[in-house]
Structures are given as C-alpha cells and as structure tokens.
C-alpha cells in the first residue's frame, strides 16, 4: 500500500471544505458575541449559546478531527458514551435550584481583597 492510497483512505476532505468550515465557525462565534448584548431571558440565552456551541463542536469533530471519514463503529463507540456521561452530570441541577432558597443570608458583605500596598 503506497503513501497516496493511504492518504485517500484516511484523510479525505479538500482545503476548500476546511476553509468553509472555518468560515462557519467564525460566523457562529460572531453570532455569540452579538447575542451577549441582546436582552433576553437567561434560559433562552443559555439554550441558544449551548446550541451554537454544540453545532461548532460537531463541525470541529466531524471535519477537523476527521470523525466523519472514520468507520461508523469508531463513532458509535466514542460519541454516545460521552454524551450519556455528560448528561448524567445534569442530575445536580435540581439541587442547585433548590439551594438558592436555602442559601445562608449574609448580614455583612463577604471579605474583599486587601488594598494594594502603595510603594513609597
């Protein structure tokens, strides 16, 4: 098996394709920066931001990390397991919403950093 056949099999995708993926990633980032200055409920904001990030992550994994061109068995071994493990961590969120009501109410503000020492 020569080097070129190896390349055909293992590294598909043209430079033009990669540049168009990069343009998409930059465009989605610009949308995120724009959204930072749009007033909207935090839940909707968070959903849109995470949605955009998941799209960006999928583009990076599929094209830059070349997963789209790998065997399906590798994708099925890696991705669903990762997604399930991450979603399992969401089990903590009901507790975090509960604990905002239980929070210790400070009577005084918490300590702040000491003022920097003036050089003589």
């Amino acid at each position: 098996m020569n080097a070129h056949a190896h390349a055909d099999e293992h590294f598909a995708g043209s430079n033009k394709l990669f540049i168009s993926i990069w343009v998409w990633l930059v465009a989605l980032t610009l949308i995120e920066i724009f959204l930072a200055y749009v007033t909207m409920p935090i839940h909707i904001m968070l959903t849109i931001l995470i949605g955009l990030s998941v799209i960006k992550a999928a583009l990076i994994m599929a094209y830059f990390m070349h997963l789209k061109f790998e065997r399906l068995s590798l994708i099925i071994t890696l991705v669903p397991m990762l997604v399930v493990c991450i979603l399992l961590l969401f089990v903590f969120f009901p507790d975090s919403y509960r604990s905002i009501g239980l929070r210790y109410q400070f009577k005084q503000p918490p300590p702040v950093a000491p003022a920097p020492v003036e050089e003589p």
């Binding site: 430079n15 904001m45 931001l49 830059f64 068995s73 990762l82 969401f90």
Partner: protein, 230 residues
Amino acid sequence: MSTEARAEHFPAVDWEGGALPYRVGHRKLGMWLFIVSDSLTFSALLIGYSYLRASNVWPTPFPFYPSIVFASVMTFCLLSSSLTMVFGVSASSKGDKAKARKWILATIFFGAAFIVLHLIEWSHLIEQGMRPFYLPEKWVQVFTTTEGVPPSPLFGATFFTITGLHMFHVATGVLYLLIVAGRIKKLKHEDVEISGLYWHFVDLVWMFVFPLIYIMSVDMHHLLAAAGGH
C-alpha cells in the same frame, strides 16, 4: 507489522473484531480515549461552575473592552490555528513533510498568541483586584442585590480554574506540536494526525468555555462603568 498487514488483506466486518476493528492504529485510538476522558473533566468543571452560578448571586462584570474583545480575538486565534493544523495534517498525508512542518509552525504561532493574549487578559482582572476567593470591592458594591445579598466570591475561583486548565492544555499542545514539528521527518503520518486530534480538542473545549465564562458574564448594562469601575 504482520498483524497490520494481515488486517489490510482481510478487513474485518465492523463488529466482528479482527486486528484493527476500528481501522485506526492503537495510538490514534488511545488519543481518542484520552480526548473522551478529558472532555469529561472539562464537562464536570463547567457543570460545577453552572451549579454554583445557578445557586448564587453571580456578578456579570466583563466589559466589552478589554475582556470581550480579547476573548474574541483569542477565539479567532484558536479557530485559525485549527485550520492551519488541518492543512498541516493534509500536507503530511500527501507525504509533503516540509509543508506540513510550516503549517504546524503556523499553528504553534496562533497557539502562543492565544496564551499571550490570555495572560494579558488575566492581568487586567488581577489588577482590578479579582482573586480566586475574593471579588474587587467595586464589584461587590455594584452586584449586591436590593435585598442585600452580595455576589458570590467564587466567581474568581471558577474563572481561574477553568480558563487556567484550558490554558495549560494549550501550553501542553504548543510543546507537543514543537516536538512533532522538530521530529516530523522521523514520524509517521498517523503520529502527525494524532497531534492534530489533540489540538482540535483544545479548540473544541474553548468553544464551550468562551460562551459560558465570557459571553454569560458580560456587563450588558454597563453597571460597573456607571459606578466608575473600569
């Protein structure tokens, strides 16, 4: 060697095992497994941050300049470094090692630019008095709620931990790529591709850190500026 040669002659059906059941080398599979475990580390940190944020009064102190401008330029650097890395791997797959080395050096340049910009951005915040377990006094005054609940001093802890661990990954990646660029003549194509996988992963993590840490903490109503904070 002989097992690999045999696997090429008798490719296994996807789920029937064989010498190379995923048709990737053991090094590349190893890097993929490392990436999966490292994604879980970052997921746990980001979810821990979200937990603290949802259960506390949280300051939103980042101004457009310097914080958001710096973070955006840093994002641009990382995205561009991924593009140059993919060009490098592409050149390496065609056997053009000299061109691959040039693209990897470009990737290192963007990675180093990211670290320098991030350290400048950190120094702005540290100058203002942000510490892992303290907020600047001004921020406490501005972001205390009308019921008198002050913002959580853990803002700094989550910020420095998550962006610091990410910066450590970028620094490690720069070292890794320096070694790959230096030894590229001796390395197989797959080794170059594996270093690319790691680099793209570092980029991928930033795609979550940037919106959750920076975009969600923008001082949208210029509260700090109004209080003379910047």
